[in-house]
């Protein structure tokens, strides 16, 4: 159990309150005070769950995240998703369907569990690649064809994720292993 910082509580309060205002659309005193009551009760119910840490380097606030970089990252991600989506669309409409899947194994060097979560989520969100397993620093990714995992193998996407948390640039992924037959998958 860890104590939650005031900064983290304030951040959750503000975001939940914004959510309430957008959902209700009323800005008068009664609705807003009802919102404050419900947000505080939600925070009270979730207090224990929020103070539990799943990982050692778990953080309950976003202090390490560089917000300006995050805005750029979202835009970059949308472009990547669109490009990959067009590619997958072309594959799925081809006749006969080209079947060229492979499994990727690699090790990452990222600062926190959150960075790994963002990388895994970004890989799954990009059409053509799905994160299968994340264990410690090891990732297993299933790719629909060779062009789909180009952005991962060339270290482009992992570097963007690293830039969300740190200023310095360095190599992020190591030991890339592309598996194309079932016998090699069993190690």
């Amino acid at each position: 159990m860890n104590k939650i910082s005031k900064y983290s509580l304030a951040l959750s309060f503000i975001s939940l309150m914004l959510f309430w205002t957008v959902m209700s659309g009323f800005l008068d005193a009664i609705h807003l005070s009802l919102g404050v009551v419900s947000v505080i009760s939600v925070l009270a119910i979730n207090y224990k769950m929020k103070s539990y840490r799943m990982y050692e380097d778990d953080m309950n606030d976003l202090k390490e995240l560089r917000f300006i970089r995050a805005v750029y990252y979202i835009g970059w991600m949308i472009v990547q998703i669109f490009k990959a989506g067009m590619h997958v669309l072309a594959i799925l409409f081809k006749n006969p369907i080209p079947y060229n899947t492979s499994v990727l194994k690699f090790r990452v060097d990222l600062p926190s569990a959150h960075a790994k979560m963002i990388l895994g989520n970004s890989i799954s969100l990009t059409p053509g690649t799905v994160t299968m397993v994340i264990e410690g620093d090891h990732f297993v990714v299933h790719a629909l064809d060779d062009d789909s995992f180009g952005g991962i193998v060339s270290d482009e996407m992992p570097r963007e994720v690293l830039k969300l948390f740190q200023k310095e640039e360095r190599q992020v992924i190591y030991d890339v292993e592309i598996i194309r037959n079932e016998e090699a998958l069993e190690k």
């Binding site: 959510f19 957008v22 959902m23 659309g25 998703i81 989506g85 997958v88 669309l89 799925l92 409409f93 369907i97 079947y99 060229n100 899947t101 492979s102 499994v103 895994g120 989520n121 799954s124 969100l125 990009t126 059409p127 053509g128 799905v130 994160t131 299968m132 397993v133 297993v140 299933h142 629909l144 598996i179 194309r180 037959n181 079932e182 016998e183 998958l185």
Partner: protein
């Protein structure tokens, strides 16, 4: 102004429907579980997001479009996690993906 809005909206919604169609076709056409999750998980996510963006453009800048934006953000956050949970469970259970150079391509990765 409304003309441009309508044209953009139609473009986005049609693209979204194309992605949804590709996802549905992919579920039927692709041969094994893992490649089907590509079609079911990721193409569908993109399709739904495109349709919602089209609706946001149709609606203009109002409270409803803000709500639609929130919906698309939640879909973009939650859908990859669902896909990951599915593939992770299958992989942990020992389901082998059918790969290009597999010895028995007809069998379908088991």
């Amino acid at each position: 102004m409304t003309e441009i809005q309508n044209i953009l909206c139609i473009l986005f919604v049609v693209t979204g429907i194309l992605f949804m169609l590709a996802g549905s076709l992919g579920i039927v056409r692709l041969p094994d579980f893992y490649s089907r999750t590509h079609a079911a998980g990721t193409s569908d996510t993109l399709g739904v997001i495109f349709i919602i963006v089209g609706l946001i453009i149709y609606e203009g800048f109002t409270l409803i479009s803000l709500k639609l934006l929130l919906i698309s953000i939640f879909i973009a956050l939650a859908n990859p996690i669902g896909t990951h949970a599915l593939t992770r469970a299958a992989f942990k259970k020992g389901k082998k993906p059918m790969l290009k150079n597999s010895s028995n391509p007809k069998k379908g990765g088991n």
